[in-house]
Symmetry: D3
Subunit: 320 residues, 6 copies
């Protein structure tokens, strides 16, 4: 199998096709233009600078294009980067951006099956109907979308993968604390971030839509629930529907984080905790994978700018 971006060591030369995830044209201190690239393939993302860029270069090497990259992997201020020797557009026939996008560790079909098994356990008819209606309406995008633009699960299928991780913990927690309403927790978990299929533009070169900026994914999915109720002739002001909407609206936990209400029922609080925990474990793990033992990760913006230590695999005495 062909080597990928992260199969190369520092100092090693590479010559492989990659996707241009972003291309910022900037002006160097010598007055000439250069392009700050982020390249991407299934193994992850890496940056590289293209000096003395001509106008045709700028025209040619745009976001979303697949290019043959010839260069050397280096390390700069602790982060890996590519020293670019040469860049060439891949033939139009091979311009298949989707093939270079990182994706969730599980296949789409597997995730669909797993999710279905949780839907079956929603015993409340109203919640079940709403969940199935919205999965049907948004399913295609739901299993492709990333869970975020940059922070966590920022890969194809990331939204579904993040949702499934929460559902797995929700299962353990419901087993351990039987006072929780399992159906409500599952229904809330499945819907909580589904508004992101409207908020974000998709897995390739993800950005925020106008609806995402002006309304936000939390209210966007709440609106979709209300429209689904309308279609299914379910009273939107019945206690059941208020509970489900509340769990979804409150899942950011704090008003400062964009929830219009703080959790006021137990399942809302628990969903918030599980969402937080999966996001933070994922962010720490991803950062630690790119960090050597005995070193600290880069600062994680979404975790208050903290940096995390990667311990050695085997015990260290304090003289080492």
């Amino acid at each position: 199998m062909a080597k990928k971006l992260f199969d190369f060591q520092d100092g090693e030369q590479l010559e492989i096709p990659v996707l241009i995830k972003s291309a910022d044209v900037r002006i160097a201190k010598n007055g000439k233009k250069f392009i700050a690239f982020t390249f991407e393939d299934e193994s992850g993302q890496i940056t590289g600078k293209y000096w003395n860029a001509s106008e045709p270069d700028i025209e040619r090497f745009q976001t979303g294009k697949v290019v043959h990259l010839k260069g050397k992997r280096e390390r700069y201020q602790g982060n890996p980067q590519i020293k670019i020797y040469q860049l060439k557009l891949v033939d139009a026939a091979e311009q298949d951006a989707a093939a270079y996008v990182p994706h969730a560790p599980e296949k789409k079909a597997t995730m669909q099956d797993e999710l279905q098994s949780y839907v079956f356990e929603i015993t409340n008819a109203d919640w079940s109907r709403v969940v199935r209606t919205l999965l049907k309406k948004n399913g295609a995008k739901f299993f492709e979308a990333p869970a975020a633009k940059t922070n966590h699960h920022a890969f194809e299928g990331g939204l579904a993968y993040h949702t499934l991780s929460i559902l797995k913990m929700a299962k353990s927690v419901s087993d351990q604390y039987p006072q929780l309403n399992r159906s409500l927790l599952y229904a809330g978990a499945i819907l909580h971030d589904m508004g992101k299929v409207i908020e974000l533009t998709g897995p390739i070169s993800t950005t925020y839509s106008l609806a995402g900026n002006l309304i936000g994914h939390i209210v966007l999915i709440d609106e979709e629930i209300v429209l689904a109720c309308q279609e299914l002739k379910i009273d939107i002001y019945s206690e059941n529907m208020l509970l489900l909407r509340h769990v979804v609206l409150a899942h950011h936990g704090l008003l400062e984080y964009g929830s219009p209400e703080r959790p006021k029922i137990m399942e809302a609080e628990v969903l918030h905790d599980l969402d937080d925990m999966d996001a933070s474990i994922t962010m720490m793990s991803t950062a630690l994978q790119h960090t050597d033992a005995g070193e600290y990760t880069e600062r994680l913006f979404a975790m208050d700018g903290r940096t995390f230590y990667r311990p050695h695999d085997k015990p260290q005495s304090h003289d080492e």
Copy 2:
């Protein structure tokens, strides 16, 4: 015309019918029960304690009942209260709670006419149709509802009156700053607090509904806009509708105050400013009306617990 609660001076005796706005049964330090009343008529609200309450008293004197109150107005820790001599239920035939509720300084019909004149100035067809649809659906309650449970405009018609005050300022501001989109500002102003007809239970003994507690009036009206669009076949993701929803969703200005998004367009910021200004002028004015010149108001909870000084009507040298 019969004297009202606030027509009596401190120390004066009174004997008038009033509405029981709230009745809390508590236990005195001597082990006996007493009722802490808030009485209300059109002139305002005042508290009074009913000592040694018997079980039949408690049964009889409940929230929402009209009673003949015999007592004396006193002042306790700076606030007026009634020393109760006697309390009797008014005959069933005269139990007309609505007649004792304070109401907006303007009549309902007048407010309806005024509001209509602003609706006419909304030149954008989509916004106009949505506004008219929701006014039709919620109109009856909209012109009766208070604007808040306790803070500002907590009287019958308060919601419409507050809305009109904002519209008047919105008119001045749009005249002065022509770069503002007048239609959007008017449409946003009319809808911004309309969710309160669902959030609050009405002008008599106002409390929060479950929908109010779990969803909140900001998202409740957003949902109603979406349903109205559905009915009117207006695309909810068109820029126009995103702008209108954003203006409404962002009107609390800060996430901490329950808006799921901060203002991201100019009209949203301005609506927030006008809403704040009308609420604070109203709260200060109401408190200052009950304060003597040279004295300070009670602490206003919704204004960070500040207290305001009422200046003398004519100049004071510093020796006075």
Copy 3:
């Protein structure tokens, strides 16, 4: 089996032995003294006021005494309380305070066995030795202590019960995220709150010791770990020991909550999340047990003063 405090309904008369958990002598507004009691038995705690207390009464009915309580259960401002008819000290021979203290839902022996099974899974020798040393040193108190003075798990065995709940979740989480160091998570979980056996005075009439006030349970257990290392000849500055101490020191998550360091390794962050989640589920559940369906709990101080809604058991349409 004899009825307990929480087996009686509002309005029902009771005549049972209970423990005086606290007895505050106060002066009533009529100038006479009264005692504000909190009574306790295995079913929970309830308050009651004893009016016109004589000096001998005050002398007699002190914290830690068992009394025959004759009275009636009432509800006052939403909370249950006892109207006291008569109070008599139980014979000296029957003065067994410990028999009236609420205790964890699981027996001590069961909890000891369960905990042992987690200790077995700590595969790192140093951590295992330290954990076993400290369990041996503090074991007696550890399985009796409450987890807090008032907030959560404030009952006999509460500390061990809370620790076990965290361990159960730690197991699920370690299974789901294999990148976590299971041994470190288990060792940290077992020790994280063990300092409370020094910070708090025990299950009966729990208060803070001077060590608890001046040092706090977080640093107290850190010191114990260091002393254990000294005894076991383990280098306190080896990476292993720094990691374990860090997990324990950082478990409150934020400096503002008393941790001298924020989590800087993944297991510290996860332990903090699990600790938080178990504490909040327990606080919400306890409060909701005392709340009727369709009502809100009292404000929970340790959850930012929030109040939680108890949904109805079966679906409610919005007309009910």
Copy 4:
């Protein structure tokens, strides 16, 4: 009429005289010096970099000089800038910096007249005398000064223009809420920012004076009021003068924003609201003027770093 800086499109070449508003000498990554200029004429400000600057260049092209600028307008990271082809000093005879400074949309004489009409409406003799005394003392500077160094109304006459905008709104608000003391509101509005004539150094290359840095414009004008009273033999501790000083001192609304007291009278609160509203409308409008429809403004530092969306002029369906 000659074209100005903002009359050129991106990509268009220009050759016009401009003022050097600021000139920072920096060292490029190639070790050579360059000058980062901000050029200015009546139409606004724009930046440009001058590479490989020689020592004579640095000597010649200093802040406050007028130069012939030959170059091309470009766009860099969303902001317009000038690519400099050539720079030449304008002849000494034509070195008239003042002619290139942006100024308020209204002429000085017009603003003086308008302001006078508000002064006439201050019916309280003391306030009127103090206002007229200070206008006389600081008038020349008052009608030339900017309202801020960079944020809002940062142009010649900006202080007076901002003051007049507030007065216009103060008029509408006083008409709508007759409980406000119009004279106090007008007097406070006229004086509120007058301390800036001492705090800032004037419209060309504005910086903070030592008095501005150590005392601040709020206290500086308060001191001037006190000195005026002294001169006019008005008792500084009379209620009238305390009220006026309070309105001025409290106009930033919060202690955190530099007011030594929060508003404690109604007019102080309202002046603060109007000041805020005019400043924010002006900042948003200015930023939106430089933004294309469908795009977002740059981040506005003085509005919590927010960015604002400029809607399309005609309706957009969600497919566009």
Copy 5:
């Protein structure tokens, strides 16, 4: 010498003349009025409640009156209070409130002498002249005023005593850090709180004046400095005078604490530190004097509500 309030032990009977420092009329839960007194003599302050107060009692026993108090000292919720047996007005001839007010530990003349010695060390002529002018103008009140209404140094002469404590530390600090400008530090220390002679109404029944509420002592003394300069023909915008005013204006350290500027010169920062330190040592010492060894003080409001532990005088093993 006659025994004073704090010469009596708990449980001891007393019969002495005292000053009524405050007298709040309240309504007891039995519907009758009572007076909540704070009594005062040179030894300190203590509270007591007077039950079933008649209207003549209320008329008679007002703030500022000297009364013969017969009663018993008791302890209530940790604080001492007086159980009142009888209260009688002292003869008009003996109504000398000033004799019962606590005063600074040093005599007025001594404090004046000490202060003078610091004034002599102010070597800068301008600062010296301003300080001497303001001491002359406000001297009488300055040596009588308390330093605060309730928090620290709330006794006759407290302002001067607090000022002297700061000066003593300022001397040590200037000796230790010769880079500090001693003259500026001394001048700033003497003036920093002098505005309190205008802000507060004097040592007996201290309250805030209108000037205190609307302007605040920080700006009030700044204004007085400016007026003194005017009188002395010193340029108020000279660097010297800006420095002195800045030191005074910035002495609360943070904008949130009412300083319109944060310290921007070294002496301002140091004065703030010394002011804080003297205030907190004084508050802690006063509270600890009323606390038994091994106990905690009441919560100190002005120290973030903290409570402080009073250690035992001789070593305690941990078994005691």
Copy 6:
């Protein structure tokens, strides 16, 4: 005596040996590498950039090496820097890094003597023994370590010098306020920052150790006190030892600053105040030494990013 780094003026050429304190290799915008140096000798630190660095250069000029520096002192954006002409490694024989490190203004022996005199005044036997034990154990490092990595006292011997400054003030303060426990204050002052000998790696190229990052100097010294007690057979839970540990643990004053407890005894509060004051005076003084009269220092990160003004040495009228 040979001239040092800070003996040269801007524009002056220099040719002296200096230590490389840090050497960051970066990539210039022209794609070539350069080294950003911080040079250091006893007179202080200064930066300089070495363009077009070859790989052998990078190999040769590393942190900790002594080099012959030939260049010119310049000023860049207000800060001094060196324009490098030539760089050569000093002969191996002369590679004595320690000779180029700035050190405390007092000699080590002097500081040891002074410190000893304070130890003698600790009259409590337990505190004295613990202090002497830990001084003996850590003494060598204690008199060499800096007090911080970059902020204040970041020079050889800085830790001891900072400790002595606090002790001197502690003496004055104990003299002035005899209610303070002098022994406790001295013992706490000596130990408060001693954990930094474990937290930091030493005076040359100071960084944080893993123990410093995961445990922090506050808890590290607390642990050392506990181990010392163990060795000395002093009960760690005796009141004396709890007090000493508390004073040390609480010396950062606020939980947010890393103290696990806020000060709860008077001496802890005072130690915190003195520590803060010495640190801030030192930071301001150091920054002001590098600032011209009439100018402002660079922003001081550890003082909330504030900048401080350096007044002129002789009076300035406001025209200058």
